[in-house]
Amino acid sequence: GAGVSQSPSNKVTEKGKDVELRCDPISGHTALYWYRQSLGQGLEFLIYFQGNSAPDKSGLPSDRFSAERTGGSVSTLTIQRTQQEDSAVYLCASSFQSGNTGELFFGEGSRLTVL
């Protein structure tokens, strides 16, 4: 597809279960971002990938969160032992290159609900 694709669009899970969220960026985009959007809290940066460089994991809230990007394309965000406070919309975005344009192309997000 032409845009950033995220799956699943909705995920309901029980507390303590692991979840995986997938992001397929726009073809040719080397930069990939994960953000978390909670109600009334804006967008919280989680992690950033740029090409083959080591990712910037500075935004991950705990060691239950991890992400990988295979082959410089598809990325998976994994949340282990989910907690109710993990409930949010997880947004993925990509851009053509790192640095200075600031135009990120966002997916529609994965809404996670932890019961």
């Binding site: 740029q50 910037d56 790192s98 640095g99 600031g102």
Partner: protein, 116 residues
Amino acid sequence: AQTVTQSQPEMSVQEAETVTLSCTYDTSENNYYLFWYKQPPSRQMILVIRQEAYKQQNATENRFSVNFQKAAKSFSLKISDSQLGDTAMYFCAFMKSSLPYSTLTFGKGTMLLVSP
């Protein structure tokens, strides 16, 4: 660290009227970029307008324009001739212009409702 503040959680405007959304930010950087992103209900977030801090001229994109006051660290968005399709959450965002990369810092958003 940078912070972005949007003090208006919600705003309403009637079709064809003009509305201004406020944004202030705090940074010690001299070179940076500012953005307004729009997130319509149940749709993807898209870039509305972008401003480079080194430019004194305010950016404009059709009905959208900004009032950038660098000394006051203020970056407001004006929407002229509001349309029903402008109903959305609007996010102000900041990015340092430093290499090798930068991430965006977002405000908490302003929900704009345009009514007939």
